[in-house]
């Protein structure tokens, strides 16, 4: 049995009286496409914050490749190969798509205390960046400024940014957020290509996407894991149906 790439061990975070993460325990083996779902307020965003290093847990531990990263600052986690995308596109809006991704590449090519040479003429930064853009279908849009790109393109660029850091694991925070059906389908295609090439933890609202892509699914309700398993098992799980899927069916949307 291979040891898990990411180990989440009894991770707990309270905000005042609200428990956003309640002793979350989860192992993700290398290469797995794992999805976390849950109704609004389930603590999905908190989980992303905890894993990325923006939110500090009160209890519990996170291990990445068996080393403890619970207290590591955000940039160190990125250096270790844990890359994230943002739910609300978080890009350099006055840069072009290529410049965005090149900056992510640069972050993982040694220190940046290089003061003289023109970084935008460095092929060592541009080639990998261009490759990352190609993986999300944005190769032709490399020189377009981000503030002139469509929502769907920005979502794809989010993924490219994470890919450019050559991660071992992708932490995707609702990549389909705010997308129409066409854009969603495109994103699913992108993620399907990535599946198997690296470990992926997908936090998502879009049920169809989750069930189409995930090897395993974890269901979060009120900060607690209520079920974790293969998609078929999750679909059949009575507690899940009641807490989440059933509720969704009856109300039609979340």
């Amino acid at each position: 049995m291979t040891s898990p790439l990411l180990q989440i061990d009894r991770l707990t975070r309270r905000f005042g009286g609200v428990i956003a993460a309640d002793a979350i325990t989860l192992d993700i083996p290398p290469g797995e496409f794992h999805a976390v779902i849950g109704p609004n307020g389930a603590g999905k965003t908190t989980l992303v914050g905890l894993l990325a290093g923006e939110v500090a847990p009160q209890e519990g531990a996170i291990r990445f490749e068996r080393s403890d990263i619970t207290r590591l600052p955000v940039y160190r986690r990125s250096r270790l190969g844990l890359a994230r995308s943002f739910q609300i596109s978080s890009l350099f809006s006055d840069f072009t798509a290529l410049e965005n991704v090149a900056l992510a590449t640069q972050a993982h090519r040694g220190h940046s205390f290089r003061f003289w040479r023109d970084a935008r003429r460095e092929a060592a930064l541009h080639k990998p960046a261009q490759a990352a853009l190609a993986r999300v279908g944005l190769a032709a849009r490399a020189h377009v400024r981000v503030d002139r790109m469509s929502h769907g393109e920005r979502r794809q660029l989010e993924i490219a940014m994470a890919l450019a850091t050559t991660p071992r694991m992708l932490l995707l925070d609702e990549p389909m957020a705010g997308m129409g059906p066409e854009e969603s389908a495109q994103m699913v295609a992108t993620l399907r290509q990535l599946k198997g090439t690296m470990t992926i933890l997908l936090i998502e609202h879009d049920m169809d996407a989750v069930f189409a892509l995930a090897d395993r699914i974890t269901v979060l309700v009120y900060g607690r894991v209520i079920a974790s398993g293969r998609p078929a098992a999750i679909k059949a799980d009575a507690a899940v149906r009641q807490a989440y899927l059933g509720e969704k069916e009856s109300s039609g949307h979340d």
Partner: protein, 327 residues
Amino acid sequence: MTASFDPPLEHAPVSRLNGRTAFIVVMLATLALLPVYTTLTGDSFVMTLFTRVLILALGAVSLNLIMGYGGMVSFGHAAYLGIGGYAVGILAKEGIGSGFVQWPVAIAVSALYALVVGVLSLRTRGVYFIMITLAFAQMIYYVAIGLERYGGDDGLTIYQRSGFGGLIDLNNKTVFYYLCFALLMAGIYLVSRLINSRFGLVIRGTRSNERRMRAIGFPTFRYKLVCFVIAGALCGLAGALLANHTSFISPALMHWTRSGDLIVMVVLGGLGSLFGPLIGAVAFLLLEEVLSRVTEYPDLILGPVLLLVAIYLHGGIEGLLQWRRHD
């Protein structure tokens, strides 16, 4: 397209022939030929005024590096003018007249001060950052007032300009003017290299989206700190020049309104543009000079002008020059 507050990430200097390039070329040529005018007419006032413009432009270039490209709005930048100036003045009074000592000391002490202020302020953002930089500058201001030996509140006359052993004679006003001009050009060139280097992209990325910078693996704090120190050193040099220009230093050199003036120059010229600070310094100081001749209350006119620029010209004067390209 709405006007963007953020300066576009583009290559500069540009070789394209457009209104903006032409304007800058004409401005630089005029500045370069100014001493000729003075020699021909014997009117030394203009050169004295413009020496001051060049020096403060160097200070504005320094401020633009952190404020325009790095998004760090320092409201205490005049402190470096003061530190640079006092380094020259104090050393001169203590009998050390060599510029080879005075100027490096001015630069080094400014850098050190920037390091201390930076360490304590750069973890904060926005208004807190502004307040901390202001508070430190005020502290230095009152320290200078307390320096009885060096004139306290009244200031200190510098009887001998920095000596460079016969290499350059700063007593010659034309020589000094060209030295300031050369150093300003060197400063602008330095910034142009910096902002396009890996380091510069980290700085600009951090201004644009610091959270994302951390997420992709950059320890942003240390880059901002180094940028802050470089800017401090550069402005310290401007302070050394200013002391030599006026042959006099006083706490007024670093009064907080001076820091405000530097911010105004940068914003007026165009935040985050290479030549913006120079354009801003020329415009601001000329406007101030002209207005103070026609009215007793120049600020009454200067204020509304700045207000209009702030409201309608987000790219400053420099932005206005390239405005036509966008439409």
